[in-house]
Each structure stands twice: as C-alpha cells, then as structure tokens.
Subunit: 361 residues, 2 copies
C-alpha cells in the first residue's frame, strides 16, 4: 500500500483511481433517474423498487484467462458479455433488469483505448437491456478482472425459481444449444477453414479489436459467443403467463445446469437426444471432431432459457416467441437422475460435462 503525492485542486488532479472513475462516468453519465435515485460518485447507490415488487440481485465473475482471452476477445465484446451474463440471471427469474454495479480491475496500460472499447460495449449492452450503471469499484491489477452485480425487479412472490419442477412436467429450451461453444472453438482455432468466414477467422489472430468486433457479427456462432442475448422477453412472458414450474438460464451447459434444476426441485429428467435443437456443424468441422450433439449437451455460454411446464399447460407454450424458437426436449421424472434417450432408443445416465472452473484441463 504505497503512497503517491498528487495535488488536490478543483478536479482533474487527483489520483489514478479517480481518473478511471471519471472516464467511466464520461461514458455513462452520473445522472440518476427512476429506479436509481443515487448513482455513481457516492459511497453506495440508492435504488427504489416500485411498491409491491421484489428486488432480484445477482453477481457474476468475468475474468481474463478464465472467462475470456484478451488476445481473442475484443474489448467491446468483453464489455457486452460481462453484463449480458449477469442480466441473463434476471431473465431466468422472469424479471426486468434495472441497474448494475461494475467492479473493474485492470492494468494501467489498458486504461486508454482498451478501456474505451470495453466501456462502449458495456454501454451498448446497458442500453439494449435497459440496465443503468449505478456504481462500482475500481482497482489496478496485472490482469483484467470484472465482477458485475445486477439488480432487477419482479412482481412480489412471482419470480420463476429452479425449485418447482414436478414429475411429468415437459422440459423446454429456447434457441439452439451449443452454438456459443462452437463459436468459441472457431474463435480459438482462428483458422480459415470455415466456408464463407475466412476473413473473420484470419482476423481473429491479427485484427484490431474494432475490426474484429465488426466482422464477428457476421458469423452467427462467433457472434453468439461474443455477444450473447439474454432471453429477457421470453423469461418475462413465461413468468407473466405463469407457465414455468421451474426456470433457469443455461450458462455452463445443459448437462451441468439441468442437474442443478433437478437438485433444487428434488426430481430427475429424461432428455430426448432426437429433439435437441442442435447447432449447424459444417462437414469440415465434423471432420475435425466437432459433434453437434456433444456441443448441445455440454457446450456453455448459450444463455438460453431452460424451463419446465406442467403437462396441463404444455399446449399454451408456443413453438416460438418473437422469432425465438422454443423446443420441448424431454420431461421431468421422479427418479433423481438425468438420463439421455439416444437416437437408437437406448437410455444412459447423462454425465455433467459442461463448464466447471475447478475441472479445467
């Protein structure tokens, strides 16, 4: 805890941490309105839920080397994704995000253009999700460390939980599973083998972050990995219709997340492999060992919703909502295990093989 000596005057002359906070404030503004009654610049933020609402609180790590790679992930995508991940937890409760706290630690050399690109991505996400920056904490560190806390609102007692699934309920997922994992693999390989995407994949190695960020959006899978979309509208719609008996978001992969819902509900599940909405894997990728079913079962970072609906209500679940497909993938069973029914009609235990930070190779 070394010292430095700097004059204090009428702003602008104070220490490095103050300057960083000022830079963040320039991107977001300090004004507070609506839910946030006191924003950045004080000891804490003040928020004011509407009468009759519960507050949803969630936090998420986003760490260089663990959750992203600085040489592969554009700063703008880091900014977008760190918020999207946390907001996805609010979607999973059927809630509405309102504000977030940004805890940011980063190396001094990144406090210039990298920080600006990061804040641009973060601000774009904040606007998309209507989730306002309300405060945070900053410090200096050799690597980029991010922690995001999101506060949301939901009608009192109406939040969707993980714990209400009952035997016989139908299991659904939104979107396609495994796409983000496929995108990550393409991004990591950084090669030009994928038809139609040579520019992006070469650029993943060499491009300036801004270029890469623009090009990334051309490729659906890389885009889904870099710029995930929390399923806020679907989560809220389902909760308002009181359809889910249990709901959660898929962040670590179906085989790791579904057991958590089953544990919380005291039930098991049977997944039908033939019904899983698989990612489109090109022939060349298949030759390199990429398997659509494995990606769908174990791939992380999709941020799709997984939910259970009673058989009685199953007819009320649409095949899609605002263009987002909704697929029944199996059912809840009494025996507390997760099984997979394969295309040959054989049933086997589904082993949790999604993302687990304590089991990395």
């Amino acid at each position: 805890m070394a010292k430095h000596g700097q004059a204090y005057g009428t702003g602008g002359e104070s220490g490095g941490e103050n300057k960083l906070v000022e830079r963040i404030a320039r991107h977001f503004g300090k004004r507070a309105a609506g839910f946030v009654s006191l924003g950045m610049g004080d000891d804490a933020a003040l928020v004011r839920p509407a009468p009759g609402n519960d507050i949803i609180l969630t936090c998420d790590w986003f760490l260089e080397g663990t959750h992203f790679l600085r040489d592969r992930h554009p700063a703008e995508a880091v900014g977008w994704k760190c918020l999207a991940r946390a907001v996805s937890d609010v979607a999973a409760m059927g809630g509405v995000p309102r504000c977030f706290l940004l805890s940011l630690a980063l190396p001094e050399p990144l406090t210039g253009s990298w920080l600006d690109a990061f804040l641009r991505g973060l601000r774009r996400a904040a606007r998309r999700f209507r989730c306002e920056l309300a405060g945070g904490d900053t410090t200096s560190r050799r690597e980029v460390l991010i922690n995001i806390t999101v506060a949301g609102e939901v009608r009192r007692g109406r939040a969707s939980r993980r714990s209400g699934a009952r035997p016989g309920d139908i299991l659904y997922v939104s979107g396609r599973l495994g796409e983000a994992e496929l995108g990550l693999k393409l991004l990591r390989e950084g090669n030009a083998e994928r038809p139609g995407q040579p520019a992006l994949l070469r650029l993943a190695d060499a491009a300036r972050p801004g270029q890469l960020a623009r090009l990334a959006r051309r490729d659906m899978h890389v885009k889904k990995h870099l710029y995930p979309e929390p399923r806020l509208a679907l989560g809220r719609w389902l909760r308002e219709k009181r359809l889910p008996t249990a709901m959660m978001d898929l962040s670590d992969g179906l085989s790791s997340d579904l057991p958590r819902m089953c544990d919380a509900s005291g039930v098991g599940a049977l997944i039908d492999a033939a019904r899983l909405p698989l990612p489109r894997v090109h022939e060349q990728e298949q030759k390199r060992g990429l398997d659509a079913l494995q990606l769908a079962l174990h791939g992380g970072d999709d941020y799709e919703l997984l939910f259970a609906v009673s058989q009685r209500n199953a007819s009320r679940v649409p095949a899609s909502l605002a263009g987002l497909r909704i697929t029944p993938i199996g059912k809840i069973v009494k025996a507390r295990q997760v099984h997979l029914l394969d295309r040959a009609g054989r049933t086997s235990v589904l082993h949790a093989a999604g993302w687990d930070p304590f089991s990395r190779a």
Copy 2:
C-alpha cells in the same frame, strides 16, 4: 473451457463448483427469512425492502496481493474484512445492512482448511453486522479474488450523501485515524521490537493462521487492520438525528477521501493538524520513521466516518457515542482546495497521498 466427466446422481457427485457452493451453504445455511426471500442456490437472490425504504447497493474488491497478503493475513481476517469494508459503505449512508453476495475465486488447494477459516471469519462478520449471505458466484483461480456486494436499507430519501457539505460546516471524524495503517506496517515488518507484543509479531511470520488470528486481537492496531469495525451505530444515529450535511467512510485515507467529499459538495476544507485524533506511535517506531501525523493524514483502511455538520447543529454532536470518540478536525470552506493548518500556524495544500491502486510503488 475444458470438460470433465462426472456422474450426476442424488447430490454430492457433481462438479467442483457445486461442491464449493455446498461448502459455503454448510457454513451459512440456505434458509431465507425477512429481507431475503430467496437465498443461495437459484439464478439470483430475491430481497424485499420494507415499504417506504430505499435499497443501498455497494460492492468492493478484496484481492490477494492488492488488498491483502496471503502469508500475512489470516484467512479468518480475510473473511471478516472483505465484508466489513463493504458494510462500511452502508454505515456511511446511515443505513442498515441486510444481505450480501459473495463472489469468490480461489486456487483448488485452498478449498479445504483455508476456505473453512475464511468462511468462519466471514460468518462471524455477517452475524456481527446482521448481514445475511444471499448468493454469489464462485470460480477457480491462481490467486484469491473476492468481490462483495452488500444490500442495505434506509428510510426513503434520508440516506446521508457526500454532496451536501456547505462552507462553514464543521468536519468530524470518529475514532482515531492512522491506526489501521500502523497495524499494517507492524504486520508487514513482522519483527519483535514493539514493547509488549513480541509474541504476536514473531508469530506473524510463523504462526498457524488460527493462532495468529487469536493473538492479533491482543494488539489494538493489528486488530484494527485485520478486523475493522464499520461504524454502523454511529452512522445510523447521525442520520436519524439528521445531523450530517455530508458523510462518507474513510477507506483510502483522509487526504484522499476528504477531497472526494469536497468535490461532490463543490467546496473545500481546512484541517487543523493539532486537532486530529492521532494513533499512539511508540518511541521505537518513531525512530524507524513512523510519524503519527502522516499516518493520520494518509493512512488507509480505518473505516472511520468523516462527516460535516452545520455550525448551528454542532452543539448537538456529542464528544463520543457508545465509547467511540467523535472529534472536530476542521471546517468546510468555499475555496475548492483542501488545506492543512500545522501546529506552527502555517497553512499548506494537503496533497492526496492515501491509498491509490494506480500509484503503487
């Protein structure tokens, strides 16, 4: 994002992250009551403020190597202090802490006894501050990374802010300043020169964490550094009496924090060195260059309260509250600079030289 293969059954067989969450739940319990209507184990926590209350939200980093040293700070103190720091922000608003989220990243070898000691210290702090664990996020990492989010409550529109200080207001601090910094220096030196404390200081090098934690409490300064006490009762009392025109907690040191209050309020301040409540520095420590005034001006980690009160209300500020001294140390002035009046009657600009992570030697 490597894979692992583990069977999922009726609990206990799932991945490393699940086990870590289970261990945390064993220390804290998963029950939710009162403010927290849904605690650990779901996508997010649900909290329910009393009607007519604002929610206070704050978050704080506590990082190995930046905010603590694993070989000097017992795990129990790390657990206590990471929560105390964040709760102190709630004290500074005059609020009541209710619950917290724990984001924890740590190396796999520390998930045993180190984690248990950490959780003991955290639980002790949680009980002391009546602040319940409501959720969080865990991951694996080479170094210990902690981020704490605290949610508190305060009567709507009544929170104490940094921004209301006016020229002529009297400035006060609670307790003594610089004690925690002195404690840190003693802990880092780890020598036996200090009269009456040889055992502790030798043990700071060699003791098992549990021993050190017990012994540390014998020494006031080391204790204040390891186990700070957020000034919750004072903050709440002052806010209820509506005395502070501005209030904040001192985390980085008076010379760094006071300018922040002045900036927020659009004012300056004049500090009277002769009135500062100094730490007691032994003669031998003075010989080694430790200066009480420098410690009081620039020492961080005290978590005392700094507040301004109008001259009209100054007579209502007691000399102490429940044994905690309250000292007038200067006044708010119009000119937007912070000056120090020394014992010789000379006035000079007070340079910000407290803790700044971006200016470490």
